[in-house]
């Protein structure tokens, strides 16, 4: 008989019973609605064992790859250990190996994990200043190529964690991180598809990771990166990105400034508006949107209305919560 492990308990799965019915029957707080595999309310992740393909139908590729599944239509033939999406993250210590300003407000932070961390460029980790005070930062590093984790942290005025990172964190110091989380990353496959990356501010962090991941995995379709900031001083990694654009003919980099007359080589306007001007049709294109939450939600909607499939839109709004 197949068994399902959840929250430290193992339950036998009755014949014809779904993982959802089994867990809910034992009082597990798994949310559900349609119970037929369409609404995606009952999303879970297999942390041990592989979920049947049937239970992954309709999910985004980046979720499938991480063994997410729909519990209500999951009838596994092998044992599974399942967790709710928010319960999966691991906690581990990491030591700061580099701190370098990328511009006047954004700091490159490099971390060496004390145990191997499996992640994808573009996912994020939570970094803790104190046990109950942590914030999310996206991974700009590519695990196959960069030895350490790379973050780009933008300093916010009175930012409890970002301010501390900029002012107090030192090389050699050890911090607690949790993760990785998130489904905004490059999934290999369809190498000829056009990729459009749009980011504002430190939203470049995940995009820089995703971009290099895609290039290194041999993505052959056009890749266009629109990075925006109010002024020129807010842009960063411009030389490195121009270098990549010279090296890879399929990659095109468009730095944008919205609040001042653009210097030569920069586009005038908001990054997503420039992208939509240059790319009127998003049919069959894959999109990555990161940074300012309003930009992300506006761009998501516009790209969808301009023909992008919902499954091809990957997004990380950098929500700032003024919580503890």
């Amino acid at each position: 008989m197949t068994s399902i492990t959840y929250g430290g308990n193992t339950y036998p799965l009755d014949k014809d019973q779904s993982v959802l019915d089994c867990l809910v029957g034992h009082g597990a707080p798994v949310p559900f609605s349609c119970r037929s595999g369409v609404c995606q309310t009952c999303l879970m992740r297999a942390v041990r064992g592989v979920p049947p393909e049937d239970s992954q139908r309709g999910l985004k590729d980046s979720l499938k790859l991480q063994n997410y599944f729909l519990a209500c239509v999951c009838h596994p033939t092998n044992d599974l250990e399942a967790a709710l999406p928010q319960d999966v993250v691991k906690s581990l210590p990491a030591t700061v190996t580099a701190l370098e300003p990328l511009n006047s407000e954004i700091m490159h932070v490099s971390l060496e994990c004390h145990a191997p961390l499996e992640y994808r460029a573009g996912q994020f980790i939570n970094l803790f200043r104190e046990p109950t005070l942590g914030r999310s930062y996206s991974l700009a590093s590519v695990p196959q190529h960069d030895e350490h984790l790379h973050l780009h942290v933008r300093r916010l005025p009175q930012g409890k964690v970002s301010g501390w990172i900029h002012e107090h964190l030192r090389i050699g110091q050890t911090v607690e991180i949790r993760g990785p989380s998130g489904d905004c990353f490059y999934v290999p496959g369809r190498p000829e598809q056009e990729l459009v990356l749009i980011g504002t501010g430190s939203g470049l962090a995940p995009l820089y990771g995703i971009l290099r991941d895609a290039l290194q995995r041999g993505h052959s379709g056009p890749i266009r990166l629109f990075h925006g900031s109010r002024n020129r001083a807010g842009l960063y990694l411009t030389d490195r990105l121009r270098e990549l654009a010279r090296e890879y003919p399929n990659f095109d980099y468009v730095p944008c400034v919205s609040g001042e007359e653009p210097a030569p080589g920069l586009a005038a306007g908001r990054a997503h508006e420039i992208a939509f001007m240059e790319i009127p049709d998003f049919k069959d294109k894959r999109l990555f949107l990161c940074g300012h939450p309003e930009m992300v939600s506006a761009a998501k909607r516009r790209a969808f209305l301009a023909g992008a499939a919902m499954k091809d839109i990957y997004a990380d709004p950098f929500n700032v919560n003024a919580a503890p």
Binding site: S36, V38, G58, F304, L305
Partner: protein, 134 residues
């Protein structure tokens, strides 16, 4: 209708519609087209501008699966509950008609024969009172 599972009733009366339409593949083909029409319609888009477009899109898939006579476990009561917060925001027949319009137009765009469009429309229509909380 409220107590009896709508699904059972549909299976009895429209057993093969879902198969005729092409099953899950048909829903997948329709969902983005349908959701795009809904979001672009100023009469109703305010109801669908949830925080998470992706979750909203998955719910539209649930709607289409129902309308296409596909497998689901929603009851009339679920429809009442699921739309009650919208009724509070003023959801009425005008909005319902708009959704019906987009359902028809989506299926037309996918070259579904008129006769099957009419069947799907009848299924959706049968939920009117539950959706509008009457």
């Amino acid at each position: 209708m409220t107590e009896k599972k709508l699904a059972d009733w549909w299976n009895e009366s429209h057993g093969s519609l879902y198969e005729k339409l092409g099953g899950e593949a048909a829903v997948n083909a329709a969902v983005d087209i349908f959701y795009r029409k809904v979001l672009a319609d100023p009469r109703i888009n305010r109801f669908f501008e949830g925080v998470d477009m992706e979750k909203q899109a998955a719910k539209q898939k649930a709607f289409l699966t129902m309308a296409f006579g596909g497998p689901h476990n929603y009851t009339g009561m679920d429809m009442r509950r699921g739309h009650a917060h919208l009724v509070k925001q003023g959801l009425n027949d005008v909005h319902f008609d708009a959704v019906m319009e987009h359902l028809g137009a989506t299926m037309k765009e996918l070259n579904v024969p008129d006769e099957l469009i009419a069947q799907a429309a009848a299924i959706a229509e049968s939920t009117r009172n539950d959706v509008l909380g009457r």
